[in-house]
Amino acid sequence: MKRALFALLLGGMIGVAFAQSTKPPKTKPAAQTQSQNNEGQRLFEENCGRCHHPPDQLSPKITGSVLRHMRVRAMLSKEDEQQILKYLAP
């Protein structure tokens, strides 16, 4: 019974994930293009977004320090750091 419950939960999670991944993105084409052009946002989502969402507010004074921390954690290059900096503190 317990194994069946675990199998059901595991199967459900994986099934939902793959079902979701086959759906097209809900963003409008224009918004999507804008997003694609925003290299900093893409880099943020790909690297920092693996663990957390962007903060609601971020003082421009400390954005550089936050990104230095992220360079160590996410193994970012200096160029990546500059791109994300432009996204977080334009």
């Binding site: 999670m13 979701q20 991944s21 809900k26 790909e46 693996r50 400390i62 290059s77």
Partner: protein, 371 residues
Amino acid sequence: MTTACEPKSIVRHIVTETMWRERNTGPLTGKTVLRYIVAAAVLPFFLALGCMAQDSPLISGAAGFISTTSAGATFMQPILAPLADVPIGDHFLFEARGDLRGFIAQQNGTSGPWEGQFFGTLDYAQLDYLVDRHLTVTVGRFLTPFNIYDERLTAIWIRNLPDVPLIFPIGTRDSGSSNGVMVRGVAAGSDKAELNYTAYYSAGTTVDQLQSGRAAGFRTGVFLPHQQLEVGASYQRYLQDQHMNVGGAYAWWVPTNVPVQVRSEYAHSPQGHGYWIESAFRFSRKDQITSFATRVQPLVRVQQFFRGSVPGGALPGTDVNAADFGVNVYLPQEIRFTSSYSRQFSSSGNYNVWNIGLTYRFMLPLTGGHS
């Protein structure tokens, strides 16, 4: 005979995280306070160095309060987890994180007067030298890079569920931290894939609040940015007391175009082995749904632990299966409401664990800096 389901036993044994702190750090003492005072005196030195840099040093972290009811026994944990980041020049970063935590419970688990103990730990205090993307050298006290939960999700403002996974003590050992040297970076990479590595050596330390085991290990992983898929493996040779090999593997899938995250880890040691897999759902603003929906995150985690032949410290004493269900609500001003229910099945008895709490994340510049 005490069983795992008796409230007193539950309070003492189940909360893995509190267990390490109780066993390995002890309550705050005069010596401990003195160490914090010395640390506070040293910090301005780094801050002064930081002032020479373009970016302002910052104090970040979180304050939180979590109430847990495990098999009918309730205990509460007020938590303060401050973090300091001090960039020095273009290539150095000093960073540190502490954890001050109370453990308030009734004397006999479900009856008697309430009693409280407070514990302080230094999670990390490290100096990083960032050569380039391919190499960063870290010295000091750092989070043990065994699998990736310890490094990435132990912060109370990031982790999805209040309780750490059952297998968490495997590889991260007792304190979750190492004292020594670490190198890390991207060995090879392109826009489509990157191969990263981390290697470390830790000396054995028995000083309160700074405890670590003598060990050496490495971790390597492959990250596919477009698929947002990350897989990797860890190995550690534990060199203190009883020498042993510890291994682990992880797979994370955190796509940006669908509101789902799937994370999983496996770990094996002579003390036991097991795995956890967690799936969380949260819409982002670009999904164009209501603001409230973007703030709610339901999640589920299943995990199994199988006891080994060697006594396992903070690991469960019996085989355990567990299913966790949680809902987090991200409120404005970096406040998060967190709640979870866990059903645990073990040979010593089945029981429920309920968690409810609030966390508040703060982030403050310490000096003027440049904007």
